[in-house]
């Protein structure tokens, strides 16, 4: 990355007796070029002179264009970003003070914008992504070769069969709530992955599955997933599009509607898996009062206490992401869990090193991750 910074300090004021100011023009860092950052020490009216009328910023470039005003400045301003500039072109800026009878240049500085090809401020993230991708590919490759991998028992996922079986015995439906976030939320992606497994099991038992949605895109994906799952177990006849529907985009409107459905339809099993916010307790407590067996899971740490209190089983944080792997036991996906474990060990090691170095007075190590 090229930095071109010219810091020129100019003291010009003579007649008015006002103070000169520090002024610098630097190429805006980590951008695609065409921009300069102007910084100066804030000017107080009294420091310049009580009689000053206004402050202005002027620009001249080397292309022969006349000197032009870029902005009116307020007292107290200290930065300005000049954009849509030509890379490699040198620009000169002046801060002017207008007095009743005279105009005075307070400071002048020059700068040249340039294009950066790589965001060096994100170098730590870059290495993190490369290392993690490497780990993921390595363990996936090993998993393909048939090496057995251990995965600890997750009680909430062991209970999926029990919950669906209970609903089947009672002749009541299952309600699956994929959270209230959008498809770009990884918790929602994890949730629809689990939905695929739940739909297959529900299909095998011939139990009705209801999926009310808050996000229309999630609804479309859920419909596709349930349909495909039923197809895979040879029961396409079970698919009822009307059971996987959109409710409302309103957070508490959704909570009200789903609570109402719980009270009217009395599902025997409720799955609350995905991203939840303040409505989590309303949903889970309503389910609790209807006596349904409830399996919840979220990476929203603020909602975990509510689910733990009101639900029978709760998947905490990353257990939600591991759920589809756990239920499907696909070797390649199991490899990704192993990669996560190693990455976590690496993060913990870095935290430990950073803490020890910080205690010892080192600031560079921690600074590299800012």
């Amino acid at each position: 990355m090229t930095y071109s910074a010219f810091s020129v300090f100019l003291s010009v004021l003579v007649a008015t007796g006002a103070a000169a100011i520090d002024f610098e023009v630097v190429d805006t860092p980590h951008d695609g070029g065409g921009s300069l950052t102007l910084r100066w020490e804030p000017v107080a009216r009294s420091a310049v002179a009580e009689s000053v009328i206004s402050l202005g910023l002027f620009r001249t470039d080397g292309s022969g264009e006349p000197r032009g005003k870029r902005a009116d400045l307020a007292f107290g301003d200290s930065t300005f970003f000049d954009e849509r500039l030509t890379n490699g072109q040198r620009y000169t800026y002046e801060i002017e003070a207008v007095f009743p009878s005279t105009i005075t240049v307070l400071a002048r500085a020059e700068g040249t914008p340039s294009l950066q090809w790589f965001r060096t401020d994100r170098i730590a993230v870059f290495f993190g992504v490369v290392l993690f991708t490497g780990l993921l590919l390595w363990f996936t490759y090993h998993a393909r070769s048939g090496r057995q991998m251990f995965i600890r028992r997750i009680a909430g996922l062991e209970a999926v069969d029990e919950a669906i079986g209970r609903a089947t015995e009672m002749g009541k439906p299952i309600m699956y709530i994929p959270g209230i976030s959008s498809m770009e939320d990884v918790a929602t992606i994890a949730s629809v992955q689990i939905l695929a497994q739940v739909a297959k099991k529900a299909g095998e038992y011939g139990t009705r599955l209801m999926v009310p949605n808050r996000d229309p895109i999630v609804m479309a994906v859920a419909q596709e997933i349930v349909k495909e799952s039923y197809n895979q177990i040879g029961r396409p006849d079970l698919y009822i599009q009307d059971d996987i529907y959109y409710v409302t985009y309103s957070q508490f409107g959704y909570a009200a509607a789903v609570s109402g459905i719980m009270l009217r339809e009395r599902p025997a099993a409720n799955f609350l898996l995905g991203m939840f916010y303040a409505e989590s307790l309303i949903l889970s407590e309503t389910g609790n009062t209807t006596g349904a067996i409830q399996i919840a899971g979220t990476d929203s740490d603020a909602q975990l206490p509510f689910f733990i209190t009101s639900c029978d089983y709760t998947l905490i944080g990353e257990e939600l992401y591991a759920a589809s792997v756990y239920l499907s036991r696909e070797p390649m996906l199991l490899g990704s869990l192993k990669a996560q474990d190693f990455a976590k060990a690496a993060v913990l090691a870095l935290i430990l090193i950073g803490t020890l170095l910080s205690i010892a007075g080192d600031t560079q190590f921690a600074g590299a991750f800012r």
Partner: protein, 283 residues
């Protein structure tokens, strides 16, 4: 006391209702202490240059007005005191009416002029895309204000292109929007982000404040009361503190009674082994 274990939940509901309604009808006048998370925002706004541009996103719907409206009102009062140029917007369709009313109301009280001191950008769907896009160019997301006037025709928008030109971004929300604003507006574009969140969601903001991703945050009605204390303008936040205090005391009392009942049952040797299910204790 053992009977406490099977207490009908409607009794608790009635208790909560009374503990909220009575202090609202007959106020006690509790005052609150100010936490560092709230003080940091106040200090930041105080130190901002006068007439800084501030983007205020009303990312909440009618459901959470009890907690978030007092915060929004307190922020607006302070910003208008500091002569900041406030751009209101919302990422939720239900937030349009709320944001518009509150902006108009507070601007009228402070004598602020539309287009010069404040404006309302309106609603834009797909929050994350909008947050990211505004890091490049606000006018690409909101070419006009809510009423169809081009942004560049407003005097207050002169020199305001993206987060770079803003002194502060404020998000008021009951969902994960604050984290998204921190991750996108701050981490990606370096904007200073302050938050007003419901008490339920505020607990998750501590790590973001500690790491400097958030200037500070107001948590629940207490956060609003703290901010009102700092700007010395009592509002719904301070008024709500009585009800919140009494209801908390009621819940603590119920927890204590529940434990006495639990201990009594256990002492009599009637407590069964934990079933792993959470259903039974409250009828």
């Amino acid at each position: 006391m053992a009977g406490m274990k099977g207490l009908d939940r409607t009794i608790i509901y009635w208790g909560v209702a009374f503990s909220i309604v009575i202090p609202l009808l007959w106020p006690i006048g509790f005052s609150t202490e100010v936490t560092s998370q709230v003080r940091d925002i106040h200090r930041f706004i105080e130190q901002m240059p006068e007439s800084s541009a501030v983007l205020m996103s009303f990312d909440y719907e009618p459901a959470t007005i009890a907690e978030l409206d007092p915060m929004a009102a307190a922020f607006l009062k302070h910003l208008f005191q500091r002569r900041a140029r406030v751009m209101g917007m919302t990422l939720l369709p239900g937030g349009v009416g709320l944001a518009e009313n509150l902006l108009r109301q507070e601007a009228a009280i402070a004598g602020m002029e539309y287009g010069r001191n404040w404006l309302f950008l309106g609603y834009i769907p797909d929050g994350t895309a909008a947050m990211l896009r505004m890091g490049e160019d606000v006018a690409m997301v909101f070419p006009t204000d809510q009423y169809g006037t081009a942004l560049d025709s407003f005097p207050m928008m002169r020199g305001v292109k993206s987060y770079r030109n803003m002194g502060l971004v404020i998000c008021l929300s009951s969902t994960a929007m604050p984290q998204l604003w921190a991750q996108y507006a701050h981490d990606r574009y370096g904007a200073a982000v302050a938050v007003g969140a419901t008490a339920v969601e505020a607990v998750r903001l501590y790590p973001y404040h500690d790491s400097g991703q958030l200037v500070g945050f107001l948590g629940g009605l207490k956060g609003a009361a703290e901010y009102e204390t700092l700007i010395q303008t009592p509002g719904d936040g301070i008024r709500g503190m009585d009800a919140q205090t009494i209801s908390h005391l009621f819940i603590v009392m119920m927890v204590v009674l529940g434990n006495i009942g639990y201990a009594a049952t256990k002492w009599r040797g009637r407590a069964g082994a934990s079933t792993g299910r959470n259903h039974a204790p409250v009828a």
